[in-house]
Every structure is written in structure tokens, then in C-alpha cells.
């Protein structure tokens, strides 16, 4: 499947895409073979959902988890601090990441 050139996919496993330039609200992008109109402006370097996500789903970037979504996210929706939260504790703590591992295992 060809990727819209305005978007970057950093790893085949990822469920987020990166805006390669600032994309205005209303811009129609092709995501996974489907036309999606952006609900909000997405700035260069920001993320959007490659597919619909359910609350609690891990977000993968570079093929690695960067946190989980706190609510359902539609395909093409902006992924950022309003709906994506670290698994590595508020920012991070010095408990050797045990809390992170604990959460990961539940």
C-alpha cells in the first residue's frame, strides 16, 4: 500500500503516522487506502492515528510503545497530550521502571 507522501511511517508495526509538513484542518489524506479529512490542523512532526484505536491501546512509534490512548481515537485523529499518556509514569520516576513493567504485564 502506498503511503501518502505528506505522511511518514517510521516502522511497519506503527499505528501512528507523522506529519511531514503542517497539514491544515480539512486536508484530505489517504490513510491505509481510505480518504480521511483532518478534523484539526496537524503541525510538522506531530502524530495522527493510522487506524482507529480503543481506549487503553498502546501507541507504537519506531515499532516501540510510546504510551497508551486515554480514550477512543478515530483514524486520522491528532495523537498528543490530550489523548495519549505515558506508560513511563507521569514523566518518569526512578523506581527502575518497575511501574512501567507492572502496567505492561496487566
Amino acid at each position: 500500500m502506498t503511503l501518502d507522501p505528506r505522511l511518514l511511517l517510521l516502522s511497519a508495526d506503527d499505528n501512528c503516522l507523522i506529519a511531514a509538513s503542517t497539514l491544515a484542518a480539512g486536508t484530505v489524506l489517504e490513510i491505509e487506502g481510505e480518504a480521511v479529512a483532518l478534523a484539526s490542523t496537524i503541525a510538522l512532526g506531530h502524530k495522527l492515528a493510522r487506524r482507529a484505536l480503543a481506549a487503553g491501546d498502546k501507541v507504537l512509534r519506531y515499532g516501540a510503545p510510546i504510551g497508551h490512548v486515554t480514550r477512543a481515537v478515530a483514524k486520522g485523529e491528532h495523537l498528543h497530550t490530550h489523548n495519549l499518556e505515558s506508560d513511563y509514569l507521569p514523566t518518569y520516576t526512578f523506581d527502575a521502571g518497575h511501574a512501567y513493567v507492572g502496567r505492561d504485564e496487566t
Binding site: L8, G45, K47, A64, I66, S86, D87, Y92, F94
Partner: protein
């Protein structure tokens, strides 16, 4: 990136007595205390290349000594290295020992004041045993500044003639060690230059090279992902311990983690920010951890632990990018891939630095300093694979004698300060079973 060349004997190197080969044949002039710095610098200055003269638009009006010259056809470069401290430090001694016997170094002149603590006799002996031309000039015993400079210039002239008579031999990719570092990062670094270097690393490792990444302080949040890539379980535990050490050290130093500006650039979480730096490591298994001056015994991907052991004693682990570059070189790196978003211009003594520019606007502004325009990924003019392939090709070209931009501009930054390390723990290194090429005494 399967269409990359499969001939492993792609490179040209100068054979050294320890079995390694160098892609450069540098005369290193090393001051052993700040008090000897000026004398050493004056000796090196006699051999400094002339930069290209340019008009107001930046077009060359006179050729530089360096322009378009393959290193194998030019007179050997003369580089300045050294350590400013007077008090003894085992780390600095090890760093200078490793760099003075680095495969890119063909001859060494040590410049001593005479009363500093650095063990110059041990350094001279190591270099002599390696078969390289070596000399030590002690300013207090050589009649002072003028006569030491004159003696030094004369010695370097002879060493250059000796090295100039050497011819490089074919060198395989599995004899190459490549390091990576990032500096002057911005929001583009993690989406263009860093993952492109990761792809180039994967291609080099597939062909037997050793690749080294570092900055454990910026890998906080990636430790469990790194652990999952460790080739052996005990190595995975050591990686986690290594990042915990870095997090603690940087906290004591008052060094922040996630900043507001990061979120503006599109980063949401700590682990996401760290992954941007981590992307330079590619996707290969991690086969070992090294500390400054430890040389990878096999091919594969290594993590360089740059954070000192014990309680913080000498300040920030590395005060600027060149401190990390120097440590990668002490680990035997022949060449450094330096990713930058805002635009660093540095090079290094001893090993060439390749600048991979993440931001297309920065590239346009600083194109004279940048080797690779990774930002064109953002403009739809290239894919990550395309840029990864270009980084691989540029690495091979430099390994055959082409010069990087920073080399042509005469950059040869070097900085070495006080640190303290314990030896690496058990289980950190793979067993070198087949390749004797990197066995270091």
C-alpha cells in the same frame, strides 16, 4: 536496502600491528597538560591546511589544499589531541592510550611540560610497541617554547614522510567500526536523520561491521525496549542498570528531561522523546555494552556507556558533543555519523565526522557543512530507506579515502576532561570466536 554492494572488501585501510586497519593515517600531536598545549598547537599549525577562499556568495575562488583530494594521495594530516589536567586520572590515561594507538593514527608526538602527572613513559612505550613512529618532547628539558616547537616541527615532517610512503590495503566492512552521536537536535531529528542512521547501521551490521550508539541519559524510557533487543539475558539486565545509572546521574546534575518545547514539536511522552535519539540504533540485536576505551571484539551493535560510575565527581558526564565523539573514537570508531537538526558544524581529530542534517531549512542554510540532506524526507524527495542507503554509501566512500565536509573545512575538534569509570561488568561483551581482527592487547 538489498541492492547495496555485497563485496565485503570495499574499503582501503592502513594495516596496524594489532590487526586493525585505519581509514586515515594521521600524525597525532598530543599535549599531556594544558601547560604544553600552546607548544603542541604551534607545531600542528605549521601543517594546517589552507581553506578554500570564497567570494561573498560562497563560491570557491581558490582551491583549498583539501578540496577533492583523496586522503591516500595527500600528505598525512597532522591533528592536535591532548588532556589539560595536571592531576592524574586513569580514564584520561586510558583515553589517550587508546587514541594514540587508534588505527587511524600512524605516528604520535607527545608534548610534555615535564612536571604533569600523565604517565608519558607508558604512553610512549605503548605506541612504540605498536610499531608506530613516536617521540616525546619535554619542554622543560628541550630549552623552552621556541626550541621545542622547532624540534617538534622537524619530527612531524619526518613522520609525515614515513607515513606518506605507506600504501593502503583492501579492508573489509567487518573490520570497520562506526559510531553515531546527535547534537543540536530539533523536532525533525527523530523523524529523518536518526531513523535513517538506524537503517544505515542495520545495513552495515548485516555486512559484519561494529556500530556503536550512546547517550544513555537520553535513552531513559527505552531501557526495556533495549533489554528486549539484548543478545543475552545478562546483557539485558546490564542495559537496564546502565540507563538507571544515567537517569540518577543527570537528576543529581539538575539536567531536565521532558521540556515544553518538546511537546510543541509533536512529542507527547518521555519515552517517545528518548525513542527519537534511540532510533539511531536501528533494529539489530544489541550484542554488547562498552565503556570509553573498550573496543568491540566482534561486529554487531554496541551501546557505549558514557556516564561515569560512582558518585558524581567531575560534573556533567560530557560537556559537549566532541567529548562523546572522542569517547567513540577511543572505542576504535573509524568514522562518526553525527545527526543534527539545528545544525552543528564540528568535526573531530583522528576520525572523520559525517554530518547528517535532519532539517531541510537548516540544510539550505548550512549546506557547506552538511554531508547528507536527510530533511528531504519531509519534502517528499526521498524515503528513509533512500537516505539510509546514502549514509551507507557515504560511509563506504569515506572508508575508501574521500573526505567529509568537516574534514575539508579543517575541523578537528578534540576535548578530553576528568571522569571515573569502573571496568565493564561480566556479560557485557560477546565472545570473539572467529574474528581475530580486533583483538587488542
Amino acid at each position: 536496502m538489498n541492492e547495496l554492494p555485497t563485496d565485503p572488501a570495499l574499503l582501503l585501510g592502513y594495516p596496524r600491528s594489532d590487526g586493525r586497519k585505519g581509514i586515515r593515517n594521521v600524525v597525532a600531536v598530543a599535549y599531556l597538560v594544558e601547560c604544553a598545549h600552546h607548544v603542541a598547537r604551534e607545531i600542528v599549525a605549521q601543517f594546517a591546511p589552507r581553506l578554500a577562499e570564497t567570494d561573498d556568495d560562497g563560491a570557491a575562488v581558490a582551491e583549498a589544499d583539501f578540496d577533492e583530494i583523496n586522503v591516500h594521495d595527500a600528505a598525512p594530516d597532522v591533528h592536535l589531541i591532548g588532556f589539560p589536567g595536571c592531576y592524574p586520572n586513569a580514564y584520561a590515561q586510558k583515553m589517550l592510550s587508546r587514541i594514540a594507538t587508534h588505527p587511524n593514527v600512524g605516528a604520535v608526538l607527545f608534548v610534555s611540560l615535564g612536571c604533569e602527572s600523565m604517565d608519558k613513559h607508558h604512553l610512549v612505550e605503548l605506541v612504540r610497541e605498536s610499531g608506530r613512529p613516536v617521540e616525546v618532547l619535554t619542554i622543560q628539558e628541550t630549552g623552552g617554547t621556541r626550541s621545542t616547537i622547532a624540534r617538534g616541527v622537524e619530527w612531524v615532517r619526518r613522520a609525515r614522510r614515513t607515513l606518506g610512503a605507506m600504501r593502503p590495503v583492501p579492508m573489509r566492512l567487518d573490520e570497520l567500526i562506526v559510531g553515531t552521536v546527535c547534537g543540536g537536535s530539533d523536532s525533525t531529528s527523530g523523524i529523518t536523520a536518526n531513523p535513517a542512521v538506524g537503517r544505515a547501521f542495520d545495513a552495515m551490521i548485516e555486512r559484519g561491521a561494529a556500530c556503536v550508539f550512546e547517550e544513555t541519559g537520553e535513552l531513559v524510557g527505552c531501557e526495556y525496549h533495549m533489554k528486549s533487543r539484548a543478545a543475552r539475558p545478562e546483557l539485558g539486565d546490564a542495559i537496564v542498570a546502565c540507563v538507571e545509572k544515567a537517569a540518577r546521574y543527570y537528576t543529581i546534575m539538575g539536567h531536565g528531561s521532558f521540556a515544553v518545547g518538546n511537546a510543541d514539536g509533536g512529542l507527547t511522552t518521555q519515552e517517545e522523546k528518548s525513542l527519537g535519539a534511540y532510533a539511531k540504533s536501528g533494529a539489530s540485536p544489541i550484542v554488547g555494552i562498552v565503556k570509553p576505551g573498550d573496543i568491540p571484539p566482534t561486529g554487531g551493535l554496541y551501546l557505549l556507556d558514557v556516564v561515569p560510575d560512582g558518585e558524581p565527581r567531575f560534573g556533567f558526564p560530557n560537556i559537549s558533543d566532541n567529548a562523546e565523539i572522542g569517547e567513540l573514537i577511543a572505542c576504535g570508531c573509524h568514522l562518526i555519523l553525527f545527526t543534527t537538526g539545528r545544525g552543528s558544524v564540528v568535526g573531530s581529530a583522528v576520525s572523520p565526522v559525517v554530518k547528517v542534517c535532519a532539517n531541510p531549512a537548516t540544510y539550505r542554510n548550512l549546506s557547506g557543512d552538511m554531508d547528507i540532506d536527510a530533511g528531504r524526507i519531509l519534502e517528499g524527495r526521498a524515503s528513509l530507506d533512500d537516505v539510509g542507503r546514502e549514509i551507507f554509501d557515504v560511509t563506504v566512500a569515506l572508508g575508501r579515502g574521500a573526505r567529509s565536509k568537516s574534514e575539508m573545512l579543517g575541523h578537528q575538534e578534540f576535548i578530553l576532561t576528568y571522569k571515573a569509570f569502573e571496568p565493564i561488568g561480566p556479560g557485557c561483551l560477546p565472545i570473539a570466536s572467529v574474528s581475530p581482527v580486533r583483538v587488542i592487547a
